[in-house]
């Protein structure tokens, strides 16, 4: 789960990591007043759950309260389209108004879980303030990876090494190390999957300040972080994806016209691949999960049917923890609830498969059965 920059910065501050002076505003007037309080100049930053804001016009430097008001007027209430959003973009409901920083040095710092190191790693680069993926692609050696042993936690020699890799002078090594320790503690205590600062700066006064702040909390850990879950901003999420997430269904909206209901992420990807190979194109990735009830399957299918792009539905269920009869009942329930008549290609195998097929056959829905993944792909391709 992503949270906004200003929310992440509040958490940073709580852990003792320095952030710029600033204020969240929701109206142009507030933006003007905040800029005045900051001495008449500021930077207005759109609070959206998407990277690439800067290039997309989502960040503006203003030199007067009036300028701030005008800029905020332009930004608030609009959708921002960045390279990380879809064509609709994401709504800008809040701006973070911050004082201009005295930047002496820009660096990049991130903490994430790395499966090949089997634990947290800290990524550091002296190349801050730019697109880190480009840095990684062009000069992989410019990014230092520091694995952390979870028994010991981050050791001081590691933060000294990281401060050096960030390119900080020996005088800045101590405040930098303190910030890195605080961020590691934050990462672990809040079950993050990502903490990222780009740029982490040194100011002319020799302070280490997080100019940006990104925190992603691991979804699987939210059950023990009720406080963080409250920071969720559904307005930033794809409506159908958000609906699915609430039901603990993995759903990703895609560009095609075949709605897909699959159980298991691997089979769902294989289904997408097979559809593509057959010349069709999926409208979504959907993994209904293992322990689904018929209501949950129905909700999943309703989400698919709510997507206007969808022209037909492909069900590919290999019954294991999810039984075919339950899946069949769920599909029928959704078609009934949505009063839908879209063509339905069903491929079912595994636990209780015969019951499942029988239930669908008796349902009166427009069902084409397929025995194999290849047949299913051909069936949807033929129906186009």
């Amino acid at each position: 789960m992503k949270i906004h920059e200003y929310q992440a910065k509040e958490i940073f501050a709580r852990y003792g990591v320095k952030i710029p002076r600033g204020k969240v505003v929701r109206t142009p007037q507030e933006a003007s007043r905040a800029t005045e309080e900051l001495g008449g100049q500021s930077v207005l930053k759109s609070q959206v759950h998407a990277g690439g804001r800067g290039n997309a016009g989502g960040v503006k430097v203003v030199r007067s309260p009036k300028e701030a008001e005008d800029a905020a007027q332009q930004m608030l209430g609009k959708n921002l389209i960045t390279r990380q959003t879809d064509a609709k973009g994401v709504p800008v409901n809040e701006l973070l108004v911050e004082g201009l920083a005295d930047i002496a040095q820009e660096t990049y710092l991130a903490i994430t879980i790395d499966s090949s190191h089997r634990g947290p790693v800290i990524l550091a680069s002296a190349q801050g303030g730019m697109d880190i993926e480009e840095v990684a692609a062009a000069n992989p050696d410019d990014i230092h990876t520091e694995p952390v042993d979870s028994t010991l936690g981050l050791m001081p020699f590691q933060s000294r090494r990281l401060a050096a890799k960030l390119g900080f002078s020996p005088e800045l090594a101590r405040p930098a190390a303190q910030a890195i320790h605080a961020l590691y503690r934050l990462f672990v205590e809040n079950d993050c999957s990502l903490v990222e600062i780009n740029p982490l700066i040194a100011t002319g006064d020799g302070e280490i300040v997080a100019l940006d702040a990104k925190i992603t909390v691991e979804d699987d850990s939210l059950f023990r972080h009720a406080d963080l879950y409250e920071l969720r901003d559904v307005s930033q999420e794809d409506k159908l994806e958000a609906q699915a997430a609430d039901l603990d269904i993995s759903y990703v909206s895609l560009e095609g016209d075949v709605g897909c209901l699959v159980n298991g992420a691997g089979l769902a990807m294989a289904t997408l691949d097979a559809a593509k190979n057959a010349g069709a194109s999926a409208a979504n990735f959907l993994d209904v999960g293992g322990g689904a009830t018929d209501e949950k399957v129905a909700s999943a299918v309703e989400i698919i049917l709510s997507d206007p792009k969808v022209k037909q539905v492909l069900v590919n269920i290999f019954g294991g923890i999810l039984r075919c009869d339950i899946a069949a009942r769920g599909v029928i329930l959704a078609y009934k609830n949505k009063n839908s008549s879209l063509p339905l290609v069903v491929r079912m195998l595994g636990t209780n498969v015969d019951e499942g097929k029988a239930i669908l056959r008796d349902s009166g829905l427009n069902v084409t059965f397929a025995d194999t993944i290849a047949e299913a792909a051909q069936a949807i391709s033929a129906a186009r």
Binding site: Q84, I113, D114, S115, S116, R118, G119, P120, E133, A136, A137, D149, S150, T151, V188, D191, S193, E218, D220, S221, F223, R224, S250, V252, L254, V262, N263, G264, A265, G266, L267, A268, M269, A270, T271, L272, D273, A274, A275, K276, N277, A282, F285, D287, G289, G290, G291, I317, F318, G319, G320, I321, L349, G350, T351, V353, T372, I373, A374, A377
Partner: protein
């Protein structure tokens, strides 16, 4: 033959009185699995299905039944405790089906298990099955399996069934099928399973199914190139998945070039694997390789 389990495997189910636990315990038993007990704290003394004794603790279950494998169906907040309880009770092989264990819990668990002789399969996995031993330890539909000499290993659940289904439809039986699980940190890796298949005289060919995300397939490729002595057919799914989007719980985050299907497939091809062209071709590719072996 096959790997990890055999006729002497004595299985307990942790969470046997829960919804999923009871359903699958029953299915395993029906398949022929030697289910000797179950564990649910507070329900010790009950009989599951009027036959299988339920214990309060794993230690009691081990003492009373001689169990040497624990199959875990316990919700995520309690699953790490269930795993450590089994390890502490001396259970050498643990299969954890549970999906959604927080990754930092797994980081700690992984450290702990490395200091013990215990092997964990999973979490977030379908389990494993050795049809020749009538031993099913997981949630896979038993009916699709046939005893035979092809090993199957995968990160995925249902995609493993797909592979098995295609094999069995062509009359190709399996020695063992193992789902290692889709989480970033799992107890057992591709390499661990491949090593076991390499040593298993009952396995002639391995079907390997990978996914986008991470570098587990590259690690497997490196091992295959260096040490693996048997033919292997590989499929990596996720080519149609768009970059930068997270696809479910599969650890399928496209993080860079090496996480893409092309990079993984190239590594496996370079290691000498036979590439399965599409998800629909798993069975026929394996069949073709087997025919060459004859």
């Amino acid at each position: 033959m096959g790997i990890l389990v055999d006729e002497n495997t004595r299985i307990i189910v942790q969470g046997i009185t829960g919804r999923e636990g009871s359903f699958h315990a029953r299915a395993c038993k029906a398949y022929g699995t030697n289910l000797v007990g179950g564990v649910t704290p507070g329900k010790g003394g009950q009989l599951f299905d009027e036959e299988v004794p339920v214990f309060d603790t794993v230690a009691q279950a081990v003492e009373e039944t001689g169990a040497n494998l624990s199959l875990i169906f316990v919700p995520p907040p309690f699953a790490p405790d269930a795993i450590v309880e089994s390890a502490d009770a001396g259970v050498p092989l643990i299969v954890c089906i549970t999906e959604g264990i927080p990754v930092l819990d797994m980081v700690k668990l992984d450290k702990y298990l490395q200091s013990t002789p215990v092997r964990l399969i999973g979490p977030n996995c379908p389990g494993l099955i050795t049809p020749g031993a009538k031993c099913k330890v997981g949630i896979m539909p038993g009916s699709i399996h046939q005893a035979g000499r092809v090993g199957v290993v995968s990160r995925s659940g249902t995609l493993t069934y797909e592979a098995v289904g295609q094999l069995s439809d062509l009359g190709i039986g399996q020695s063992s099928c193992v789902g290692i699980g889709g989480d970033p940190i799992t107890g057992t890796s591709f390499v661990d399973v491949l090593r076991m298949f390499n040593d298993d005289s009952g396995t002639d060919l391995v079907v390997f199914i990978g996914e986008i995300g991470g570098t587990k397939e590259q690690e497997a490729a490196a091992y295959i190139k260096a040490e693996f002595t048997k033919p292997i057919c590989t499929l990596v799914v996720g080519a149609a998945a768009p970059a930068g989007k997270r696809m479910g719980h599969a650890g399928a985050i496209i993080t860079g070039e090496s996480a893409r299907v092309e990079a993984k497939t190239a590594a496996l091809q370079d290691a000498g694997a036979t590439i399965i062209p599409t998800p629909a071709d798993i069975g026929i590719t394996a069949q073709a390789v087997l025919q060459q072996l004859k």
